[in-house]
Symmetry: C2
Amino acid sequence: MESVRVALAERSYDIVIGESLLSRGSLLAKNMTGDRAVLITNDTVAQWYAQPVQTALETQGIAVDLVVLPDGEAHKTLDTVSGIWDALLQKQYGRDVTLIALGGGVVGDMVGLAAALYQRGVKFIQIPTTLLAQVDSSVGGKTGVNHPLGKNMIGAFYQPQGVIIDTAVLQTLPQREISAGLAEVVKYGLIWDAAFFSELETRLTRVDALEPELVAWMIRRACEIKAEVEEMQAKYGKVPGLAAVLVGARKDSQTYVRMKKKACRRLIERLQLPTRYPCSVTPDKLFAAMRLDKKVLRGQLRFILLKAIGKAVISTQASDEHVLSVLSQFKSEQ
Amino acid sequence: MESVRVALAERSYDIVIGESLLSRGSLLAKNMTGDRAVLITNDTVAQWYAQPVQTALETQGIAVDLVVLPDGEAHKTLDTVSGIWDALLQKQYGRDVTLIALGGGVVGDMVGLAAALYQRGVKFIQIPTTLLAQVDSSVGGKTGVNHPLGKNMIGAFYQPQGVIIDTAVLQTLPQREISAGLAEVVKYGLIWDAAFFSELETRLTRVDALEPELVAWMIRRACEIKAEVEEMQAKYGKVPGLAAVLVGARKDSQTYVRMKKKACRRLIERLQLPTRYPCSVTPDKLFAAMRLDKKVLRGQLRFILLKAIGKAVISTQASDEHVLSVLSQFKSEQ
């Protein structure tokens, strides 16, 4: 079992990482004070993992209710979170209840928000069940829902009591979800830690052979890096996704292509990650979407540019023409 | 102008108290970083005070939009807060916007929640326009909305950038609203500060002659005490309202009545505060409502009992029969 301490004064907590952890009731009980929990998940994850978690809690003498949300980003709304509150109030849960988020980023973000606001704050535990949620949502305390006019527009920063990462759940995860998580992991190497990037190159030889120890190591390092990056994010806003990192790499496109070929591309292609966006999206549409993001500061887009592997800078200096021209190069041709 | 510093490390802020402060644009501007504000109020308060605040902001070069909510506790809902977010997103406000809450506790609680969650937190300024909001909501960072199953069930702790208390607004406040504020002020003396209570007895000779200097002093002291009481509340939960304080004063009803007569009652009657609840409410109903409050811990009601003026203790030791019998004594006879 690996673990990462996220140090935030009185809000510090531990992330534990290992195989088959979700059925270890003692790990869950350690992060609770009361003896009543509400397990919240979605209808896809529930089929696989609701029962083992429930049983694990009950063996610790913890009474547990189950709330099952509809699966999918479309349901990441204030209405869905309101449904959680209705369920909690109907059963008259007080401030001593602990909410347990079992699922991917969507479930985690909504349960975190529900916990942050229920009676002005109750405890919650994260059990992220996608690789992306394990490396991205375990650190940072971001909770929230979408609004018809923008993603994650309504939310709060709220820390969990603990995060339990069970690497065995990745066995039931579709390949595209594994890819999304790996892309995030590669991004951490690119923008922050050249040694980690090069270790990934050495160790991640086959994406379909993610054996437990390797995955646990990778998740632990990613969480550690995320904790460091958070400090930067607190100052400058969220680091954009992998596509934007690649897009902005260098103004001089010769140098850019060289760097991409030599380092990034090798690993990315080996991991079978997408390097182009679908031809149904035009560069104009992509650019318009970037402008709507809440990272836009006073009308100016901010980019994370790579000076080298592991060295990123934040810049607002890219012209619209240049961004559009780089975006065009990443459009898929079919 | 009086002022109180609320010391909360990097979330510290100032409460300023004085006559005609809401038209002082520089006080508002001091609490902002950007140059865009959204003034949020209700339709009653808007008629009196929206224009002066708007003008004050504009003279400081601050662009200001106005959002007017329907007046009343019935509208203290997540739907109303959602309406604020819709307005902010439709006008594409970013994280640099400052929300200004102009109104009583209901407006303050909702705008605070809207600010806490909009893009995971934007700045907000409180301009409380009722005496109760001035003494009760200026300290503590409580924001929230009601749920059909309970008051203030959904909310967050979120601190304002500053609080501006204009004592002149009390001139347009209905007498019952003045009474609600005075009851809160008297409560602070009773539970926390005997010297303040006795000063109130000396200085508050006529409730209809609340002259500006006296009011400013009273509000400042109340805010200072609230800041101290907050520490206690952080440990034990919210101090209940005045009625509960009186109800719980002593088990020995002889002693209780004596104390009430000698000290509490004199001031309370002079201030024309209600000492009985309406006969339409039965003790049973009142007791049931108390049981639904979120201060109830594991099914046990907690009472603030007075050992003496200025000395309160928290107790869960009152039997249901005793509480009901004391409640019966406070029922109005007409």
